[in-house]
């Protein structure tokens, strides 16, 4: 790297790409990403899922939680059967007579919402803590990283179990649990790449100009730790959606009033032995498509943003 | 098998690497031959193809590399077309190899005895005890003290020089007809270098083995070899008896190499250098690969010069403008 006279944030990723002068870094990133057809397909599917979740009330054929329209006589109808209200239940109905397709669309909304909310908050907390550890170093760093290491040495499900045992059920409770499970991953990632950046000349230059801590950390360090952060973030959203579903399946996650995909699967599990597969399988497939599509995007992001990690 | 047949005769060997960036012609038409008991120095800069030549002979060129043409006649048998099983039988028993970096050639998680006994048993159907005894004797032969104890040790418990002795002992286990030594002293201290050099030379002479000594160091070859092959960019540019080539180098590249060796009788004079850098294998200059760096190059050098024998019977050079005595 050439000597930096001005303390501007020099993004190594951008620098590499400057060899291809006709492209902006973002353009290059997009074209690199698009090289993998599978990843593009994953991205399209994921965007569709997000749209479905956002516009759930407009898309769902019925409102599965409107007690006035749900009829117990419709319970456990096979896929394609007609409900009392005259609507066709394309994917069948569940034990309470709700249209599976509608329940899934609403469930998707809850699953994605919980995953995104916990992911975002955990990311913010983890980034702040990780940057603090890397920037201040010394004892702060040691203490923070001890805690991070200790937490990461325990499986996420165990930590979630302890917390939910303590806090009880509820949307807010599970979001808290997922935040506690995730923050350490972000903190470790951010600290790792921030430490590398910290020792580079431009940070030294910024420090010698006596810029404020906050300015150096957020204007100069943060942009450079973004690539690994994006990769970890994508993977974490997928795994937190999976963890929420698991906890809800175990009956210690979301309350019955907030039926996420995991809870729908759990509800259908008891009917499966009697061959009524659709109550459990369809929400499961929806969960699967969501997780796999996010992971496909994440895998590709890792290859594109960090060539060193890919092999 | 007649006595006049050379131990190894390489004819127009071509080994190419098919990489994503294009075809790298690491070895591009190399020919030489070695008689029984003869020592040949194979000299060149890194990337000149000398190591790949060694691996081609022993059949260990890994993909994307491939021997694309030529013949490797080992006591009359063509190794270039031999089956994998036949090659395995020959490797270690008739043709052995010593590698460059002794720190990397022994498996770090296996004890020395494991690595030696398997080498014995790979070719001879003997029990563990016999194999162990042969390994012990082989270690003693290369000057390792208390070999019985040392056999129980792991590689990391040996110094670099000791490890290279172990590799040499392994190479000598089956008294091969040919040993290929790939810069075996480069990674060692100078004092150890001398010892190893002496040891190998002695053992080869005693057992009448042929030896190819691959190196970039002319001074090593000078005291060791009977003849020399100088490689540049995948081709042999000059070959001949050691004294002929060193005393009367004809190829501008060989002259450059010899001139760039510091010596006491040239003290104070600026060291001769070969200008420029060795070309990348992926973007080879046309014609003679050396012409961009050559002081004698002219328009003709855009073609590939044929190998020729202008002076002595065994002294060949690949150049249009060789330094023939009286002409330079």
């Amino acid at each position: 790297m050439t000597a930096v006279t001005e303390p501007t944030a020099v993004d190594p990723v951008k620098e590499e790409s400057s060899s291809q002068k006709d492209q902006t870094p973002f353009r290059r990133f997009v074209s690199d990403f698009a090289e993998s057809k599978v990843a593009v397909a994953g991205l399209i599917v994921f965007l569709l899922i997000v749209l479905i979740a956002i516009f759930a009330p407009l898309i769902a054929p019925t409102d599965p939680y409107d007690l006035a329209t749900v009829d117990i006589l419709d319970s456990r109808l096979e896929p394609g059967a007609q409900m009392m209200s005259g609507t066709t239940a394309l994917l069948g109905t569940d034990g309470l007579g709700r249209d599976m397709l509608s329940a899934m669309i609403y469930g998707l909304r809850i699953s994605l919402g919980v995953g995104a909310a916990s992911g975002l908050i955990a990311l913010m907390i983890g980034v702040c803590i990780g940057l603090a550890a890397a920037y201040f170093g010394g004892r702060t760093d040691t203490i923070i990283m001890r805690i991070v290491d200790l937490q990461l040495s325990f499986p996420s499900i165990l930590i979630a179990l302890v917390l939910l045992a303590t806090l009880g059920k509820g949307v807010d409770k599970i979001i808290i649990a997922l935040i506690v499970v995730q923050w350490a991953y972000y903190a470790r990632t951010v600290r790792g790449s921030a430490l590398v950046e910290r020792n580079k000349e431009y940070i030294e230059a910024a420090t010698s100009l006596a810029l404020s801590h906050r300015r150096i950390v957020f204007k100069h360090l943060l942009p450079n730790v973004m690539p690994p952060l994006i990769v970890v973030g994508t993977v974490q959203v997928a795994s937190s959606i999976a963890l929420e579903a698991t906890l809800s399946f175990l009956g210690i996650g979301l309350p019955v009033t907030e039926p996420s995909l995991g809870l729908l699967i759990s509800n259908g599990f008891e009917y499966m032995m009697s061959g009524k597969y659709w109550i459990s399988i369809f929400p499961g497939v929806a969960l699967l498509i969501t997780i796999v599509s996010i992971n496909l995007v994440g895998d590709r992001l890792r290859d594109v943003l960090n060539p060193r990690l890919s092999k | 098998m007649s006595e006049t047949m050379p131990t190894l005769q390489v004819e127009d060997l071509k080994t190419h690497f098919f990489t994503k960036g294009g075809v790298a012609r690491a070895v591009d038409g190399v020919s030489f031959s070695i008689e029984k008991g003869e020592v040949m120095g194979l000299v060149g800069e890194s990337g000149s193809g000398k190591t790949v030549t060694g691996f081609s002979i022993i059949g260990l060129v890994d993909p994307p590399g491939e021997v694309v043409s030529g013949r490797i006649l080992f006591k009359g048998e063509d190794l270039a077309t031999a089956s994998e099983e036949r090659m395995r039988q020959l490797r270690g028993s008739r043709v052995a190899m010593i590698f460059q970096d002794p720190m990397m050639t022994l498996n770090p998680v296996l004890r020395i005895d494991t690595q030696m006994i398997e080498a014995v048993q790979a070719h001879d159907d003997v029990d563990r005890k016999t194999a162990f005894e042969r390994s012990r004797d082989a270690l003693g032969q290369v000057g390792i003290p208390s070999p019985e104890e040392r056999l129980k040790a792991y590689p990391h418990q040996f110094s670099g020089g000791m490890r290279q002795r172990v590799s040499i002992a392994i190479a000598l286990l089956h008294q091969p007809d040919l040993i290929i030594a790939d810069e075996p002293t480069t990674a060692l201290d100078v004092t150890i270098q001398g010892q190893i050099l002496f040891e190998v030379q002695k053992l080869c002479r005693e057992k009448g083995m042929s030896l190819i000594w691959i190196t970039h160091d002319l001074s090593v070859v000078a005291g060791l070899a009977d003849k020399i092959c100088v490689m540049y960019a995948g081709r042999v540019v000059e070959a001949g008896e050691i004294s002929d080539v060193l005393d009367g180098p004809m190829h501008p590249y060989t002259r450059g190499l010899i001139g760039s060796v510091p010596s006491h009788n040239k003290r104070g004079e600026p060291l001769a250098q070969i200008p420029g850098m060795a070309p990348s294998l992926l973007s080879m200059p046309s014609g003679c690969a050396f012409h961009p760096r050559c002081p004698r190059a002219d328009g003709r050098c855009q073609e590939v010069p044929e190998i020729s024998a202008p002076v002595a019977k065994d002294h060949t050079v690949r150049c249009f403008h060789p330094h023939v005595e009286g002409a330079s």
Binding site: I157, T166 | D101
Partner: protein
Amino acid sequence: MSVYIIRRLLQAIVVVVAMSIIVFSGVYLIGDPVDILISDDADQEDRQKLIESLGLDKPFHIQYLTFVARALEGDLGDSFIFNEPALLLILDRMPATLELAVASLLMAIVFGIPLGMWAGLKPDSFFSKSIMAGSILGFSLPTFWVGIMFIMIFAVIMGWLPSGGRGDTTEFLGMEVSFLTWDGLSHLFLPALNLALLKISLAIRLTRAGTREVIHQDYIKFARAKGVSTRRVILVHVLKNILIPVITVMGLEFGSLIAFSVVTETVFSWPGMGKLIIDSINLLDRPVIVAYLMIIVFMFIIINLVVDLMYSVLDPRVRLQDVKS
């Protein structure tokens, strides 16, 4: 070496104490178990009696110290629900969980390492690409969902294997085990495979990465130059180098297997510790929750210690560093 062990033991004790405080104070906040234990029509006096008998009226630090003193004697309290010592309750279920976890670990190693080596040795073949695609799926699919699919395919549709429970057990080394009877084995297979899936994927990835790194090392080429057969080069030279990191990680994952057995045991009604803890959380059975978490922490520490020791036995380079330090 002994200095190293003592240092590790001290470290472990610190972690145990820290965890006991965290777990105890966490569970202390759970909520009032009295509400669950007592019938709705009980009066205030009955309520008070129950609180006293459980020691819930004392301040937090007294409750903690009482807990520690008793724990050191091996008494982790009695279950509110079963009126049995919580420790016994858990130890009673532990063999089932251990059997499941060990079976899964074995599956991960037996399936994961050969598949990973294949993928590393022939990275461009179709089979290798399928293996890697499968391992990505193994990483992303939630365990409980795969378990449900297993039950649907192999138990409900095919009818090949039972859908849950433990089957016939026999006594082995003082523990009830399933793997010695045909019926028990058939009950064990699906849950063990389910639990192992994630670890198989992990083993595949680690082995593949290790294989690709090792096969380009000089010592592999040198082994081939000795005329050693390809088979021996792969099975001895490559494998032994890969086994060290893979076994280390797999060993570390044993704790995670025990933690994740919570999910598999629930799906397959496997009568182990995991099912017990879920029931206990739902019933606010505080002593059982605390006991379970303490035992798990303890197991984690032991596992880490054993893995470290194993590592130093397997890799001579590590052993040397210890001797030097």
